[in-house]
């Protein structure tokens, strides 16, 4: 049999495709290690209520934000475009853009803490192509920095602007790093994790602990007797843009 150069190249290309396809099939087949978070934590739904009246009285206070960022090694970057934020203050008009008018603007104040809403129906989780962000059974929307490919689809999907991307290496910008919480690497998305690491130890989130006025109340929304539920049943509370259907777990007492 005479093997022409063309035939040889053809066989070569064919083999390459076959090897590639085999790897692919194997990869797809062994995929999806079952994420059984649900099994462990089926009952709780963590949530937070923020008393805006107290925040209003402490205009400019950012103790919660500082505690959060210190505890999670959130970098302080010189370029505002590359900013990384987990919990920070925004003026009321930006947080509830279409819920104020010229007459109430002053009353609602300038200091509204915003963070990941840990939605019941999170758009970020829906769009993530690798399940690097997912929703735990207890309501915490998690990030797996090991799996994130940095496509930033979740940032486009989040209607609350809660997510930040590491445009540069954050490590030179940590100040005094907290050795107990790993910083992130360039090229991944990050956000508030509801202090998942503290919840595991039975502690309250760092922001809640840091607030001298106890303006933040954290607890189980599924437990009718929890302090957060007591608070929500007694006072008028709003969520950010509930009409979008994401179901935020952060409630603002106005």
């Amino acid at each position: 049999m005479k093997l022409t150069r063309k035939d040889f190249l053809r066989v070569l290309a064919g083999s390459a495709v076959a090897v590639g396809a085999g790897t692919l099939v194997h990869a797809v087949g062994s995929a999806n290690d079952r994420e059984s978070a649900e099994a462990k934590n089926g009952k709780k739904r963590w949530g937070m209520a923020i008393d805006l009246q107290k925040c209003r009285e402490e205009k400019g206070c950012d103790l919660c934000s500082r505690a959060c960022h210190r505890s999670h090694n959130v970098p302080r970057l010189p370029d505002p475009a590359h900013e990384v934020k987990w919990l920070w203050n925004e003026p009321n008009g930006k947080v509830f853009p279409f819920q104020q008018n010229d007459y109430t603007r002053h009353a609602l104040g300038e200091t509204v803490p915003v963070l990941c809403n840990h939605c019941t129906n999170p758009a970020c989780v829906r769009v993530c192509p690798t399940q690097a962000t997912w929703k735990r059974g207890d309501g915490v929307v998690m990030m797996d920095y090991h799996r994130c490919i940095g496509c930033r689809y979740c940032m486009a999907a989040c209607p609350y602007g809660s997510r930040s991307f590491n445009y540069v290496d954050p490590r030179p910008h940590l100040g005094a790093p907290n050795p107990d919480f790993p910083p992130r690497t360039a090229g991944v998305v990050e956000k508030c994790n509801f202090c998942e690491e503290r919840l595991a130890d039975g502690k309250q989130p760092a922001c809640v602990e840091a607030c001298p006025r106890n303006a933040m109340v954290f607890g189980d929304l599924n437990d009718g007797n929890s302090p957060i539920r007591q608070l929500l049943s007694g006072r008028y509370a709003v969520q950010r843009q509930p009409e979008l259907g994401c179901g935020p777990s952060i409630f603002y007492l106005v």
Partner: protein
């Protein structure tokens, strides 16, 4: 077959050298981006997708537009397209490759790209986009290869290729539909939240792709012995005329809905695009240039006397391509992020390294297309 690409004139090699230089520039810039991070680009926390993703979107359209020569020829037996269907299919291959590269250079962790396969996630539109784009690349690659091989041997193409070609028609529609779904299923991005986004994408695709094909056919005629034929080019002109009209009509529908309703969420991104918002007006000249080019091209395309003049048609095609490149390859994606969910108006402009990477991807696309067309033309010359 590939040997045909290795024999060419000095001009051919000069062009190849130029493209290789472009690719080298892009590659150098990409290495810098890889080392430093995407902070090297003009992207920010608020505008987190920019020219890479916008160019990706635009070139999905160019890729899908191959259907505009394949469909008339295979379903309606439009014989004038017999000689150029292969050009459309090869253009699709080059354009899809560019799309994939644009996605790749946009990734923060490119080394982890296979996670998309390792953890397949059907509820993510990006998963489906990957499937439709890869499928489309394979379909067109196989079709082009089989057709060119048959031509080389002077035999008719094997009969099994016909169903594959027919399959590529709905598949072309699918790639741009899924690409629209990437954007229009997101809460909190009102500019994209419109059911007409997929039809708009298709209309702009069927204008920009065939416009590029017209320019390529005219270039081939001037530079080589390959002549697509006056009638084929005229028919392409008619397709561009219809598609561009529909595209402008769709844009008008969007503007009417957003601006007449006066709903700030929907109106603000358009205000940002055409008039500027909060004193930030970087995209205003871009968008108005796009509008002027679109209207000028419509005038040239809709009057048959103008359209039949090949020089005018070439200019009109160039105007269509540029207009849509500005509108879809930049404005539409960037303005989706303005204002941000927290009402911030943030400007975005690509940086020099970002342009370098874009140029590099363009270089790769153009290089592929040059090689493909060189092979095709050489085969035709030999027969």
């Amino acid at each position: 077959m590939l040997d045909k690409a290795l024999k060419g004139s000095g001009r051919y090699w000069g062009w190849i050298a130029f493209l290789l230089a472009l690719i080298a520039v892009g590659f150098t810039c990409y290495l810098r981006q890889l080392a430093y991070g995407l902070g090297i680009t003009g992207l920010s926390r608020d505008v987190s997708w920019g020219i890479y993703i916008a160019q990706f979107t635009f070139f999905v359209g160019v890729a899908a537009s191959a259907v505009m020569v394949v469909l008339p020829y295979y379903l309606h037996n439009v014989q004038q397209f017999a000689r150029i269907t292969i050009l459309g299919e090869l253009l699709a291959v080059a354009a899809v490759t560019m799309c994939m590269l644009f996605i790749f250079v946009d990734m923060g962790q490119p080394a982890r790209v296979l996670n998309v396969l390792l953890y397949p996630t059907p509820h993510s539109m990006m998963f489906w986009d990957m499937i439709s784009l890869t499928g489309y690349l394979l379909l067109n690659g196989v079709i082009a290869w089989v057709m060119l091989s048959a031509e080389q041997k002077g035999r008719p193409a094997p009969s099994w290729i016909k169903p594959v070609i027919i399959l590529s028609i709905p598949w072309a529609i699918s790639i741009h539909t899924v690409t629209a779904f990437l954007y229009n299923g997101l809460p909190g991005r009102p500019l994209w939240f419109t059911a007409i986004l997929a039809p708009r994408f298709l209309a702009s695709a069927f204008a920009s792709g065939p416009a590029l094909l017209i320019l390529l056919c005219l270039a081939l005629r001037r530079l080589t012995s390959f002549d697509a034929g006056q009638e084929a080019i005229r028919r392409l002109g008619v397709i561009v005329a219809y598609a561009m009209t529909v595209n402008v009509f769709f844009l008008f529908l969007e503007l009417f809905t957003a601006l007449y309703s006066g709903m700030p969420d929907h109106a603000e991104p358009f205000e940002y695009l055409f008039f500027g918002l909060d004193g930030k007006n970087g995209l205003v000249p871009v968008m108005w240039l796009s509008v002027v080019l679109a209207l000028a091209s419509l005038l040239a395309l809709l009057v048959p006397r103008f359209r039949r003049n090949e020089r005018v048609l070439a200019l009109a095609s160039l105007a269509v391509f540029l207009s849509l490149w500005l509108e879809k390859g930049m404005g539409l994606i960037v303005a989706g992020f303005v204002p941000s969910p927290l009402r911030a108006v943030t400007s975005y402009a690509p940086t020099a390294p970002e342009w370098g990477i874009v140029a590099g991807v363009w270089g790769i696309g153009a290089l592929l297309l040059t090689i493909f067309y060189k092979i095709t033309v050489s085969l035709r010359e030999a027969n």
